[in-house]
Amino acid sequence: MTPERLSEQSFDSEGEESVEEMHYHFNVDRRGFIQLLGAGVLITVTGGAAEAQRRGPGGAGSGRRQTVSSRVHIAKDGLITVMTGKIEAGQGARAELTQSAAEELRVPADRVRMVMGDTALCPDDGTTAGSQTTPRTVPVIRAAAAAARNLLVALACDRWKVDRAAVEVRDGVITNPATKQTITYADLAQTEDLAKAFEQAIPSDVAVTPVKEWKVLGTPLARPNRRDLVTGAHRFAADTERPNLLYGKALRPPSYGATLTSINLDAAKAMKDVVAVRDGDFVGCAAPTTFRAEQALQAVAATAKWESAPHPSSKELFAYLKQQSQSPGKDERVEEALAKAGKVLRETYHVAYVQHAPLEPHCAVAEWNDGSVTLWISTRGPFGTQSEIARSLRLASDRVHVIMPDMGGGFGGKQVALVGVEAARLAQAAGRPVSVRWTREEEFTWALCRPAAVIEIAAGLDAKGALVGWNFININSGGAAIDSPYNVPAKRSRSIGSKSPLRQGSYRALAATANNFARECMMDELAAAAGADPLAFRLAHIDNDRLRTVLETAAKRFGWDARKKKRDPNTGVGLACGTEKGSYVAACVEIGVDRKAGKIEIRHVCEVFECGAILNPGNLLSQVHGCIIMGLGPALREEMIFESGKILNAAFSKYLVPRFKDVPPLDIHLLNRPDLPSAGGGETPIIAIAPAIANAVFAATGARVRTMPIRVAAKEVA
């Protein structure tokens, strides 16, 4: 099996992310397949038709308006169910969307139950990506809930023959204060009228509750299903129980690019209750226990012959990416500005590949019934998964039902349906449900990585120390937050492709981390070249008030001026700021460097974050914590090491993610801007930490570090 690259990169319209597609080449002529499904239902759907089908009425791609009933259901006991195709990955979408619905329906949050990521029940809200749930889906849910409330009120008013202005709504009870008449949502749900009313389209101009009147939004609502998390009752995808469930394993190539030339399944097939499948380039085994499935897979793997392909190693990665890169072109105006500049700095920055390494690896349970397949799968895109499974198995997409139980972490990963295809194909062969859960080694090796980057910057200063020219080229990692927020008369930023040795895809904040790292390190270098303070130099080039505010606030809270002057030996302070996806961040850090051991100790992090009107301050604070601490991993340690097509550190014992002891003292400040639209907060807070540390390393050691992970080599110190 060699999932192949369909294209170098494809872009998701929702989250502007690059996702490398992976799929299997199954044999088209499959007798077993037809036997299982019955020849009459073997339908091949073209991409376009499948797409139209899956979007359906009211889907994200449809021009038709959604009905209220597609979003909101009120049961006879008054329980409100709200449906969204977005998913919960730990980022807090469930709480935020619950609040959105509760606010507009004028009920406490515990009266609302969100159904998320189920392709049979929910409208397609696109992949959960790119911090889009807050700016895109929250307004949709609010509009639907407000429309539902208006319809409920209208029904009550019709009944009482009063004007809408005459009634009040509170806690799901509609009251006419003049007559003291009351009616509950549950009462109205007893009638056919409500079901009929909810078939109406959600009006495009429905009024939602102004921020200053929020009672549920803007408060720190905890995750609604958190009790199930502490009792172990929550079923993650791999916890799905099905009768006669088998456990499956897919055969992986021994190295990247290796192709299977021959294999013998006999030994596995001879094992009791084992199903072994080869279909095109897919080979897998399923058995009643994981243990036996592994034994069967080992028996099969022992017979496999592979043809390997040359593969660059991580040691030569950056040279390789540069060598394989497209042409950056030239911008004459910028070249001219640089030619005229008093001082020009040209530097190259490197960012290593990292893995998301969610604690829950890719996993799926597949079950077939009457030619249709149901998948419980850990994915950020239930509808994309539905199409991908349908395409892979040559099914109409309405024969694929995807259920996404709240997942065990994604961080921008889990965007391909490969594990679902594996489970579905094995289940098809076995005639029984099959569960596939990748091992940690598979997760590190075969999940998509955050792209590595080579970033080349040329920047020019005039005699007064003002930026006059800026040329920024990102090779391989993408264009997120590539445009400089700083004021430069002639500037140009460009992202160009290369040939990525590892499979790559989106990661929390996409390329914004790499681009902001390079830019903010360069800004520090420019400040030094101009003889200016890094804070003052940045402020002199910022027009945007929101960026200025977070930076000034962070510097003030941190005590930048005083701490910068202190100059304790082997101690340094650094700062960085940035903006992406409508939110703003600034971080100041103090570090200590143990020059002998070559170790960096993070002593203090002060971060200020602003993303418009805060929907849930508790969750937002958790996201900012999470971003900073998670960000310390790739900033200081994490990197994929590979050689001859093999990942050499595909284990938590070799790839060290942040742990309790790595958490520095944190001072986090959330700036609320109720006057501004809410932007997502689960990504941008990660982009300032690495450059702030690199800049602090310079302050402590006088040496620039231009690579992530940031390291101070012990030998460099005299």
């Binding site: 791999a238 226990t289 994981t290 999470g626 938590f652 993610v657 309790f660 002891k661 958490v663």
Partner: protein
């Protein structure tokens, strides 16, 4: 070769005939349908698969089931007393100490094991002990607050 193993899980006795090399984690999940213990690393170093064996925490992802023969196992499903949550579970709820929640059962059982061993741990001892559990959402500040809350609740 299959052998018969007696597992006492959450106070219930189970007799299981299986390959003794199978991992305790897999037997809990696949045979006993107790899915609260999670696979995380397969090396016993991330804590997602933590269960208690005779009150001590063990990594069930590296423990052959034979080693659990005739031992008392507690999984997250057995921690609450009927509908009444264990104080550590209460503390995690009170501090909202889960983002995705995949590490939560292991975190809670680790904290329970710590409090059983050392009812008055210092902050340093908490960090030392909990450092064996990974939270990839990096909700460590919240989890730490939950463990501290459980420690002070135990003191009262």
């Amino acid at each position: 070769m299959d052998t018969t193993i007696t597992l006492n899980v959450n106070g219930k006795q189970h007799s299981i005939t299986t390959d003794p090399q199978r991992l305790l984690l897999d037997v809990l999940r696949e045979d006993l349908h107790l899915t609260g213990a999670k696979y995380g690393c397969g090396e016993g170093i991330c804590g997602a698969c933590t269960v208690l064996m005779d009150g001590q925490r063990v990594a069930s992802c590296i423990t052959p089931v034979a080693q659990a023969d005739k031992r008392a196992i507690t999984t997250i499903e057995g921690l609450a007393d009927g509908g009444k949550l264990h104080p550590v579970q209460e503390a995690f709820l009170a501090e909202d100490a889960s983002q995705c929640g995949y590490c939560t059962p292991g975190m809670i059982l680790s904290a329970v094991a710590l409090l059983q061993k050392n009812p008055r741990p210092t902050d340093e001892e908490i960090l030392d002990w909990m450092n064996g559990n990974v939270c990839r959402c990096c909700d460590y500040p919240q989890i730490l607050a939950a463990v501290r809350r459980a420690v002070s609740a135990a003191r009262r």
